[in-house]
């Protein structure tokens, strides 16, 4: 009986420790997210007039989800708001400075920039069409109100 209680204690302690590690991991990601949004404004790299909204789409050659899910989702967002935004595909491993600037931990990752180049939303991992549209519209509405 004593033995069983001891073993139960070990299992519960391990469960608690795992939960603690998960909580710490989530806090770390939340911190990276905050720092990414606080990054200095990014100047437009293109020659033409800057779009009201720019999305930086971080990807890599090995990233299956980027190509099967994120790219089609971004295409749908582009189609839904024609002429109002541009998407810049960025190879994260080949662009470490930009990846570091937005504290990119994983691909796919997307950064929604306003016309001034300020990061308005950051998504680590796959961002579905609906969420991206919401983030884009938030910037667009503000631009129109201003």
């Amino acid at each position: 009986m004593m033995n069983l209680i001891l073993r139960l204690g070990v299992v519960l302690a391990l469960g608690g420790l795992t939960a603690l590690i998960i909580a710490l991991g989530r806090a770390f990601v939340a911190g990276q997210h905050r720092r990414a949004r606080a990054a200095a404004p990014l100047a437009s790299v293109g020659t033409g007039p800057a779009s009201a909204v720019r999305i930086l789409a971080f990807s890599s050659a090995d990233c299956r989800q980027c190509h099967t899910h994120q790219t089609p989702a971004l295409r749908r967002v582009l189609a839904a708001r024609p002429g109002q935004l541009s998407v810049e595909e960025i190879d994260a491993p080949a662009t470490p400075d930009l990846a570091a600037r937005y504290h990119i931990l994983t691909v796919p990752a997307t950064v929604v920039l306003d016309a001034a180049g300020r990061a308005r939303a950051v998504n680590f991992g796959f961002a579905p069409t609906a969420r991206l549209l919401e983030q884009v519209d938030a910037v667009l509405n503000e631009t129109m109100a201003a």
């Binding site: 073993r7 139960l8 299992v11 391990l14 795992t18 998960i22």
Partner: protein, 160 residues
């Protein structure tokens, strides 16, 4: 695997969750009941799932009992099954080592530690979806020690 695959590879995430829950329960039950034989059973189940997924006991139970009873509904997502199989193989290796240590040596603590590592990692995958075995698989791929999947416009598999 041929050069081009028409439909993207899919996995059933519900089946994966079901297997992970099974591994969590078996590894915890073995430790709580102090029964190395349960570790051996779990090792066998995972080894079968990794080496012959079609006859993996979790898969059979899921397909012929859990799904028909509508306890869970399949949820197919595009993903590469290879890392998940690799992860199951790693789990099977740990549980096999655990069972061997528990049966053949007096190092009880080491044996149960190996079992509990699987308990924690399967629990982590079940709760937050972090698959430690897959992580190792991708790292080995980066070091060119394992085939690595590369996307090049269509579904072309490199090295598989």
């Amino acid at each position: 695997m041929s050069a081009s695959v028409v439909s993207p590879p899919r996995i059933d995430t519900r089946l994966n969750k079901f297997s992970q829950a099974g591994v969590v329960l078996l590894s915890a039950a073995a430790f709580l009941a102090n029964q190395p034989s349960i570790v051996a059973v779990a090792a066998g189940v995972l080894a079968l799932s990794a080496l012959a997924p079609a006859i993996g006991p979790f898969r059979l139970l899921y397909r012929y009992v859990v799904v028909p009873l509508r306890l869970l509904k399949p949820r197919l997502v595009e993903d590469d099954p290879a890392p998940h199989r690799f992860a199951q193989g790693v789990g099977a290796a740990f549980l096999t080592a655990s069972a061997l240590v528990l049966f053949l040596t007096p190092a009880v603590a080491l044996g149960w530690a190996l079992d509990l590592i699987v308990f924690v990692l399967a629990g982590l995958n079940f709760t937050v979806g972090f698959c430690a075995g897959c992580f190792v698989y991708y790292q080995l791929g980066k070091l060119h020690l394992l085939p690595r999947v590369r996307y090049e416009g269509g579904f072309h598999w490199r090295g598989v």
